[in-house]
Symmetry: C2
Subunit: 333 residues, 2 copies
């Protein structure tokens, strides 16, 4: 039972985290901030809270050989916030449970926190709490809290037959970035622009909020596991099927890279990590969906069907089943 006097390493670490993430400064709507047993936050009148959590593990979600620490911090927070965007919510607060090997408590941690702080500023979200643990391998568990006007949140489950299916942005670029990174091509200047989407995803908060506030959508989901898998998730929750016109799916202009054969449509359908939005729009509201929202392209890619099959149709009208071939953490590779 004898122990050496406590050096307070954890306490020092927590102070560094609070400082890096700006939680030692002025806080909005936070009565008790991070560092206490719990945080106390004040809801706005007439708001509902929207909460979700997302884990980010070394080797599974990031590869220390390939992903700089600031990418780890930025991306871990951004992908959690994307789940708020998919509800039409405004991000407000987050908690981070950090597990770190002792070797990652120095420069790596500082850079990771700098990336997370940059994401937090851009996403307008404030740290309210967290937890630290020494572990052999690094991981982050992010809990994010947003708010939405009462009754305005958009679930996955409201899509109805006849609704049009839209996606935002270009699909497949993030997955292309991962392929380039894994092949050691991250530093080639001509390819660098393809990495941005993989490194620093931009959750579609403004778009999600706009769609929810104007009640233009019946169901919405963010594309984290890949269009095919997330479309299956939306359809299952809504009890419907879908017909996707594959030639309409907005896809990356692939760079020509010697020795790599890639199919832009396959990347767009199954690639994952896009953090774009997939949403269902009743036919009467389709004219109100602009071709672009700010700079983000919005594309009508198909429709919701009564029949529960999920089909893709090519330019010649041939149909086949669109299998969910995106990311499943429990499927053996």
């Amino acid at each position: 039972m004898r122990r050496t006097p406590k050096t307070g390493i954890e306490a020092t670490l927590i102070r560094r985290i609070l400082h890096a993430l700006g939680a030692s400064g002025k806080l909005r709507d936070i009565e008790v901030g991070p560092g206490d047993d719990s945080a106390v936050i004040s809801p706005r009148p007439d708001a509902q809270w929207v909460v979700t959590c997302d884990s980010f593990f070394e080797q599974t979600h990031f590869l220390p050989r390939f992903h700089p620490p600031d990418v780890v911090g930025f991306k871990a927070l951004a992908r959690a916030v994307s789940d708020l965007a998919a509800m039409g919510a405004t991000p407000r607060f987050f908690l981070v449970a950090l597990a770190l090997p002792p070797s990652r408590t120095g420069k790596w941690l500082d850079e990771m926190l700098a990336g997370m702080a940059r994401a937090a500023r851009r996403l307008g979200i404030q740290l309210v709490g967290g937890d630290t643990s020494a572990q052999p391998s690094a991981s982050l568990c992010l809990t994010v809290i947003g708010e939405v006007w009462r009754g305005m949140a958009v679930a996955r489950s409201g899509a109805r037959p006849g609704d049009h299916l839209f996606v935002s942005g270009m699909l497949g670029e993030a997955r292309l970035g991962l392929e380039l990174v894994q092949r050691g091509m991250a530093r080639r200047p001509s390819l660098r622009s393809f990495l941005r989407r993989h490194y620093y995803p931009q959750p579609r908060i403004e778009l999600g909020r706009w769609l929810a506030r104007h009640r233009l959508v019946t169901a919405m989901i963010d594309l984290s596991d890949g269009l095919s898998t997330d479309l299956h998730n939306l359809c299952r929750a809504s009890g419907v099927g879908a017909l996707i016109r594959s030639e309409q799916v907005p896809r990356a202009n692939l760079p020509v890279v010697r020795g790599i054969e890639m199919n832009a449509l396959q990347l767009a359908l199954h690639g994952g990590d896009d953090y774009e939005l997939l949403f269902a729009v009743p036919a009467r509201h389709v004219p109100r969906i602009p071709a672009r929202f700010e700079a983000i392209r919005l594309t009508d890619i198909g429709e919701v069907t009564r029949d529960r099959a999920i089909l893709q149709q090519d330019a010649r009208g041939r149909r086949k089943i669109l299998h969910a071939q995106g990311w499943d953490p429990f499927r053996s590779k």
Copy 2:
């Protein structure tokens, strides 16, 4: 880029989790439940939200050789909820991010979830969301959300010189339980009662709420890392010191176990995992603190001092520094 068709292992796992934790039934104040991108929950008017998160890792926080899976599930949730009790909050909602090796997705998972469901029922808290990940080693990250009447939350930071320091319950029993478990004595019938506190901690929700509602306390913290460490945390947050009368510290009646020498006071001061409450009471309110709250003993163990030193005084009046010798995850053992 070719992949095998998705088998939906994750989807099946999520359905099992929702079913086991009762989240497929009737939900209170939850507009969109777990299984969507995020949950949507409704705050009560005039309430503030209290949020915290807590990780629970294999090898660090539980030992699969010694801790049955239902203990893992019960304890992971109970210890997170203890941080709400320490604010005087009422637990409402929780999220669980689960990382599991494939070998733990069968019976182990079912038993773990049964333990967690039992804790959830006892603590009156409902599942609203989560995340699953396949990892080589099991871990759980629990985020818990509670509520408190506006302005009633008790932080660590309000203790003032002259306040009396109280603790609830008996300290050191949980640590004693761990010592017995690690020595393979968990199955001895005569020792089993000592394991209960280690296996199934009981966060002091009712007590915390009662103290907060009657504004009897200036600062409060739950004893998770051990009295010495948590007292340091409370004093640092409040900018004060403390004098503890060590003969007053309520401690376990140790069993006589051949070959094990234990010191009840050391267990009580530094043991950790008690999940009792340490709270500061202004002198004028001390008469209002009962000797017992329900069946839980409340003991005056010392006082808050202006001088920032943290001292212990023995029965003969001799004083020495009380070092923080409880749990620090980043200290090498």
